[in-house]
Amino acid sequence: MSTSAVRDMSARTTAGSTRAGKRSRSTSLARRGARTGFLLTLPALVPVLALVIFPILFAIYISLNNWPLFGDIAFNGIDNYLHLGDDPLFLPAVAFTLVYTAIVTVPILVIGYAMAAFVRSNRRGAIVFRTLFFLPTVVGLSTLSFMYLIELQPDSGAANLILKWVGVTDGETPWFIHQGTALGAVCVLVIWFGGGITMMLLLGGMQAVPAELYEAAEIDGANRWQREIRITLPLVRRNIAMSLVLSIIGSFLAFQQFVILTNGNPGGSTTTVVMRIYQKAFVDQQLGAATAMGVVVMVAIAALTSIQLFALRERE
C-alpha cells in the first residue's frame, strides 16, 4: 500500500468519522431537545392528566359498576351500556338533542358570519355594534334564559304583548307548553346568544386577511359579494371550522336554557341528553348508568368533532 493510498484512506476514514460524529452529535442534540421540550410541556401536561385524563378513566370505571348515589357499589361489566336503551327517556333525549342541534347550528353560523362581516371594518359605530352583538355572551345564557322566561309569559311578557300589539297573536301564547313552540322559542334565544360568540371567533380571522388582497381584487373588477366569496370565505375557513365545532358541542351539551325555560315539559319531551344524564344521576340516583350515558355522549362528540375537523381541514 502506497503512502498516498494510506493518506487517502486515512482522510476518508477521518471524513467518515467526522460525519458519524456530526450525526451522533445531532441525534444527541435532538434527543436533548426532545427531552427539554417534554420537560417544558410538563407543567401543562400534569393538569391535563389530573383534570382530564384521570377523570375520564375514572368515569369509565364508574360506568362499569352498579354505582348508586348512596349505598354499596358492585361491578357489573358493560351492563350499564347494554341497558342504555331500556331507559325510557334516554333515546328520546338523544333524538331531541340532535334535532335541536340541527336547527340551531346553521343559523348561528350564518348570523354570526353576517354580524362579523358587518362590524369587521373600522367604520364609525362598528365598536358599538360589536359590543351590542357580543352583549348576550357577556350576560350569560342562564341570565338570558330567566329574562326570556319573563318576557314570554302569557298576558304579561313583552314578547306576547308586542305580538298582540302588531296583531299576530292574542298575547296569551303559552310558548313552553307544547314541544314545538317550546323548542322554537329556545332556538330563537340560543341563535341570538350563539351569534355573538361566533361573530367574535370569525372576526379575528376576517381582520387578519391582508387589505392588499381586497385592493387587488377590486382593481381586477371583483364586486363586494365576489370578494366575500372568493377571498374572505376561504381565508376564514379555519375559524369557521372552529366555530362549527364549538357550536355543535355546545348544542349537544345544552342544559341550563332548557332547565330554566321548559324543565323538560311537556311530559319530558324537551329533555336534552345532558338533562337526562343529570336526572339519571341525581333523581334516579344511579351514577353508574348516568356515567355510561355520559361516556357514550363523550365518544359521540369526539367522533363528530373529528369528522368535522377532517371535513373542514385545510387542503394544500
Binding site: L149, P154, F176, F282
Partner: protein, 434 residues
C-alpha cells in the same frame, strides 16, 4: 449492633412522624372522636345545612355556640340542589359532616342506604318522642327505627286574598273543593282580570306540595304500603283524586286561573298570586313571607281543605340526620336536642317555617305571637308526605307519572284517561321500570 440501632432510630422517627401527623390531623378535622349519643360532648360539630332553612339554623347555631363552651357548631349552608351530590361524595369518604339537615322527603334515600345513625333510643332517652311531629318523624323511620328527627316544618296552606274575598262576598276560606270552586267563580265574576285560583301547572314538585293535601284530608294517597320495597299504586279507583283533578280541570276550563299557570315551572308560583288579582293559591308560607308588607296585609292563611272536607297539609321542611361516619356524633346529638327545644322551635316562623313540636300546636301564647303558622301547624297533625323511595321519579320530574297525569286531566280535559294512565305510570316506577 449498628443494624439494631438503625432500626430503633427508624422506629422512633416513624413514631414521631405518626404522632405529629395524628396531632396535625386532629387539629384540622372536626373534633376528637366522642363515642355514644348523649355522652358528654366536646369539640366541633361540622353541620351541613340545606340552604332553604339556613335563616333559622344560623340563629340556633349562634345561640348554641354562645351557651356551650365545650362544643361548638360550624354551619355550612349548602344549596338544596347540590346537597345530595355533595353529601354522596362525602359519604363515600371519611370526610363526612357530623350533622346534616335534608329535605324531609329526601331523608329516606340516605336512610335506606344505611348512611344515618339509628337515633331511636336517643330520642326516647331525651323524651322527645311524644313532642315531635309524628308524620314528620315517620319520614325518618324505617322498620320502626328512627334514623333522624324533624328539624322544621314547611306545611302547605291555602293563601287567599282578603280583599277579593270581601269584594265577592265570601265569608271565609273554603271547607272543601266544591266550595273552593264556587269561591273561585265568584271572584272571577268581579272582573275578567280577577282570577279565582292559581297553581304552577308545569312544576311537578310544587303540584305535589299543593294538591296532595286535598287527598290526604280524605285519608287517600297515591302510594301505599309500609314496606318501602313493595309499595302499591292507588291511583285508579281513588275517588279523592278524581274529585281533585276535576276541580283543577274546572278551574282551567272555566278560565278561573291565569293562562300563565299552564307553563309555570314554579318561578311564578308566589309572584303571580301576590299580584293581588288572584283569590287563592295552595303553597307554603313563603307565599306570605316573600310578599311586601303592603301585600301581606291582604293575604289570609288557612288550612288546605280536602276534596270532600276536612283539612290536611303536605309535611315539607327539613329533618336532622347524623351520618354513621360522623366523628362527633355526641356533639351533633347535643345540638339536635338544643334545636328541638321549645325556645329554638319558637324561632322557626322567622324563617318562614313552623315548629315540629306538637306541644306548640296548643300553646296559646306561641300561636298568638305567630298567627301565620297556626293553620299549617294545626293541619300538620293529620298531614302526610311522600314516604317512598321513588318520590323523585314519581313526583319531581316532568316525565314522571304525576305531572303527566295532572297535565292530561287538567289541561287535556281527560280526567278518566289520565287516571288510567297514571295508575300504569305509578306502577311502572314502583316496580323500578320508570
Amino acid at each position: 449492633m449498628i443494624q439494631k440501632k438503625k432500626s430503633r432510630a427508624v422506629m422512633i422517627a416513624a413514631l414521631a412522624v405518626s404522632v405529629t401527623v395524628a396531632a396535625g390531623l386532629s387539629g384540622c378535622s372536626s373534633a376528637a372522636p366522642t363515642s355514644g349519643l348523649g355522652s358528654k360532648a366536646s369539640g366541633t360539630v361540622q353541620f351541613w345545612d340545606r340552604s332553604a332553612i339556613t335563616p333559622w339554623s344560623k340563629q340556633v347555631v349562634a345561640a348554641f355556640n354562645a351557651s356551650h363552651k365545650d362544643v361548638q357548631v360550624k354551619i355550612t349552608s349548602i344549596n338544596d340542589a347540590q346537597l345530595s351530590s355533595k353529601l354522596a361524595t362525602a359519604l363515600r369518604t371519611n370526610n363526612v359532616p357530623d350533622l346534616v339537615t335534608t329535605d324531609d322527603v329526601d331523608a329516606i334515600s340516605y336512610i335506606s342506604a344505611g348512611q344515618f345513625l339509628d337515633l331511636t333510643r336517643a330520642i326516647d332517652d331525651a323524651k322527645l318522642r311524644d313532642v315531635l311531629s309524628k308524620p314528620q318523624l315517620a319520614l325518618a323511620t324505617v322498620s320502626g327505627k328512627n334514623y333522624g328527627t324533624p328539624a322544621v316544618l314547611d306545611a302547605s296552606v291555602l293563601l287567599y286574598s282578603k280583599k277579593l274575598f270581601a269584594q265577592a262576598g265570601i265569608a271565609g276560606p273554603p271547607a272543601n273543593l266544591t266550595e273552593a270552586l264556587d269561591d273561585a267563580r265568584k271572584i272571577h265574576a268581579l272582573s275578567a282580570d280577577d282570577y279565582g285560583f292559581y297553581f304552577p301547572g308545569a312544576c311537578s314538585g310544587c303540584l305535589a306540595f299543593g294538591v296532595m293535601p286535598n287527598l290526604y284530608a280524605d285519608g287517600a294517597d297515591l302510594v301505599t304500603g309500609d314496606d318501602l320495597h313493595a309499595q302499591t299504586a292507588t291511583v285508579e279507583g281513588n275517588e279523592s283524586l278524581q274529585k281533585t283533578l276535576q276541580f283543577y280541570q274546572d278551574l282551567w276550563t272555566e278560565g278561573l286561573t291565569p293562562k300563565a299557570a299552564q307553563s309555570d315551572t314554579g318561578s311564578g308560583w308566589a309572584t303571580n298570586f301576590q299580584k293581588g288579582n288572584v283569590g287563592m293559591a295552595a303553597m307554603g308560607l313563603f307565599g306570605y313571607t316573600t310578599a311586601t308588607p303592603e301585600e301581606q296585609k291582604d293575604i289570609g292563611i288557612a288550612p288546605l281543605p280536602g276534596a270532600s272536607g276536612g283539612i290536611s297539609t303536605f309535611i315539607g321542611g327539613a329533618n336532622f340526620g347524623i351520618p354513621k361516619k360522623a366523628k362527633n356524633a355526641a356533639g351533633a346529638w347535643e345540638f339536635i336536642q338544643y334545636a328541638l327545644g321549645k325556645k329554638m322551635q319558637e324561632l322557626t316562623p322567622s324563617g318562614g317555617f313552623a315548629p315540629v313540636r306538637t306541644d306548640l300546636v296548643n300553646d296559646a301564647a306561641f300561636k298568638a305571637a305567630n298567627p301565620i303558622v297556626v293553620p299549617g301547624l294545626t293541619a300538620s297533625v293529620t298531614g302526610r308526605s311522600l314516604h317512598t323511595l321513588y318520590h323523585n321519579q314519581l313526583f319531581s320530574v316532568p316525565a314522571g307519572p304525576w305531572q303527566k297525569m295532572f297535565t292530561k286531566a287538567v289541561f287535556g280535559g281527560d280526567v278518566k284517561g289520565a287516571i288510567t294512565e297514571g295508575q300504569a305510570g305509578f306502577e311502572a316506577v314502583l316496580k323500578g321500570n320508570g
